[in-house]
Symmetry: C2
Subunit: 403 residues, 2 copies
């Protein structure tokens, strides 16, 4: 028997009176919601536990789907994962929008990586050459050619990489749609905090909630972002090593004075990085800082200053826009800044699945992560691109270091 | 008979059932509230009409009491007015804080006007020489000496004016205290909008409210800031010529990471002006832009950027502070940017008093303006420093131009 009923939108109708589920997902961000949806779609009863589903890092994010412009030296396995997830995005988006009957702001208009000065140009050209070596679809543009593509970028821009395959989605529309599709697929949403994992006989048995009750489950997915390692009851060797990495981000509101942008514009400005993501409604999302300050999410004057300074240098016209919001989120960073997805090694706890550590790429990696979690929970093989990102890589690393 | 009863804090107890008052004040900003208090203290029945008393420009302001550092060439009469009002501030503050029993954040720690580069130094030194000619109490400091006074100003500062007589008050505590003292002096607060002046037989007779009722009055004080010229029923020749001049301003919140500032620091940064006003609680108010965009009060990315850029240049440490608030206000600017206080000339409407056009100096000029309004309403002579700021100067100017 499963908890799937009609397609009603309320959270409560899928709450099971006995508190028993096949799977409990801790965390209702983009990863937890997408995974819950995909697990429920396989016929399992699923609950998501989150005091504020869809908020957190998924809400603060910019929604870039940018495996090419985010590539870094030495991270070829992560690139393969990112490309594999990017390739799933069109079908994922089509399925999701068909299910909820509305747009999630998916926009395939490409990304322009612009260099503000000669030093930035050298950096960008080196990145371009690396991208070419990797066989990625990029093109080098002069400043003049870049301005033909995006007339509102600054006249002083010295050159640019054109990455037509780097897209975007409106992350806030996305999490709203995921919450709806999860509910309509039968997922119960418990709007409270998970405080402890409960185990019995070498296997997970449930999750204790802040309300004092416990949900019973045969499998528990920990998708709690930066808080994934904080859950009581997690065996130390199974606790994912994630740390919060703060990002501050601005939202500039549409108006008749706003400059028109079609593609996402990423800028390198005297070695400092900024991006401007234009939504279909004219909003421009400007991000993001990368700050390691623990769980502090205060908006600092300096972060806002640096984002505005660099945005001003890349697309001066955005200064005329209304500063509608300054927000912050905590990205879950792992020791190698790559995701941690799968069963922990040697934890002696069956039924535990980790899905965290997505750092700056949670939105992009959601389709592949959800598919991997659903496969793992059901005893199937996850997509092979996820294999390098098993939690076991850290214990194996530690074992090798100790031997 | 007057409406003065006990010292109760509620607005309603002073509302008169028949709607008759001696004086109705339109506008509950710092000017309207201070005037209402001083008129009521003379035994008159007074009502203030404002949908949100204490908000508007008075709320957005920084609270500088700075006649010396605000002086401009050609504005010697305004300087005399500002100095006269500044000299009333200690007694005004003492009376107000004694009445309400709490602090209004009055701080007499002086103002440092710093120059960021050589061009700014030339400008600042010229201002200093002008201030000296006027006999004002200022001192020229080298950058090194300025940093001894305020160790957290930028090392690159090229010189500074020290104006020990330019003080500050917490404008938000001030308007709160004025609202309380007005009530305890018997002033009725009508939290609605005044929509029209009513006249009868060549004299004011009342004020029509947005609620549909009318307050009757023998005198009406128009202290509605930027909206003072918008009131229906004002004879065109009596309507003050004020325009809204937007100011955007930031509030940085206290924390252990905030740099300590003791004096107000005003900076001239490549010709652009910024000020940082340190509150006793550690808050730093950073302002302000001067923008003529009608009644638009949107926070723009560019305004926030410029304030942060210049503040960063003058006191770099404030970048570590939490950006707690970005707000805007509309300063009432007159044709000569000086206040308009007194009876309008040749309007044929007895009982009408204007008290507006205070532009950037409403907080500073409140004590003298309140005294002037109280004197005029009671048929006494206002302080002589107010004489040049009669509304009649514009009609006389127009008459001279036409002759």
């Amino acid at each position: 028997m499963t908890g799937r009923g009609g397609a009603g939108p309320t959270a409560d109708q899928h709450h099971r009176a006995d508190g028993h589920y096949d799977v409990v997902v801790i965390g209702g961000g983009v990863i937890g919601l997408a995974a819950a949806w995909k697990v429920a779609a396989r016929g399992m009863t699923v609950a998501v536990v989150d005091p504020e589903p869809g908020r957190g890092a998924s809400w603060a994010a910019a929604g870039m789907l940018a495996p090419v412009s985010e590539v870094h030296h030495g991270e070829e396995a992560l690139l393969a994962l990112a490309l594999a997830s990017a390739s799933r995005w069109p079908a994922f988006e089509a399925e999701l929008t068909a299910a909820v009957g509305r747009s999630i702001g998916y926009r395939t208009s490409g990304t322009l990586v612009v260099a503000a000065d000669d030093g930035d140009r050298a950096w960008a050209h080196e990145l371009y050459e690396f991208q070419r070596e990797l066989g990625l679809g990029v093109q080098w543009l002069t400043g003049r050619r870049a301005r033909q593509l995006e007339p509102n970028i600054a006249p002083g821009v010295r050159g640019a990489i054109w990455a037509p395959g780097d897209h975007q989605v409106d992350n806030r529309l996305l999490v709203g749609a995921l919450l709806d599709v999860a509910r309509s697929t039968g997922v119960a949403i418990h709007r409270t905090r998970a405080i402890a994992l409960e185990c019995s006989g070498g296997a997970v048995s449930g999750v204790a909630l802040d309300t004092g009750t416990t949900l019973r489950a045969r499998a528990v997915v920990v998708a709690a972002g930066s808080w994934s390692g904080e859950l009581d009851g997690l065996p130390p060797e199974a606790a994912p090593m994630v740390r919060p990495v703060e990002g501050q981000i601005l939202r500039l509101l549409p108006s008749e004075r706003a400059p028109v942008l079609t593609s996402t514009v990423r800028g390198m400005v005297q070695g400092s990085s900024v991006y401007l993501v234009p939504r279909l409604d004219g909003t421009v999302v400007v991000g993001a800082t990368v700050e390691e300050r623990g769980f502090d999410t205060a908006v600092t004057a300096g972060a806002t200053y640096e984002l505005l300074r660099d945005a001003h240098r890349v697309v001066p016209g955005v200064m005329e826009m209304v500063l509608g919001e300054i927000s912050t989120g905590l990205r879950p960073g792992s020791p190698d800044n790559a995701p941690i997805v799968g069963r922990p090694g040697s934890s002696g706890v069956d039924g535990l699945v980790l899905a965290t550590g997505h750092y700056r790429q949670g939105i992009l990696l959601a389709p592949l992560t959800a598919a991997a979690v659903a496969a793992i929970v059901c005893g199937d093989e996850p997509p092979q691109e996820m294999a390098p990102f098993t939690p076991r890589r850290f214990t194996e690393m530690a074992a090798r270091a100790g031997s």
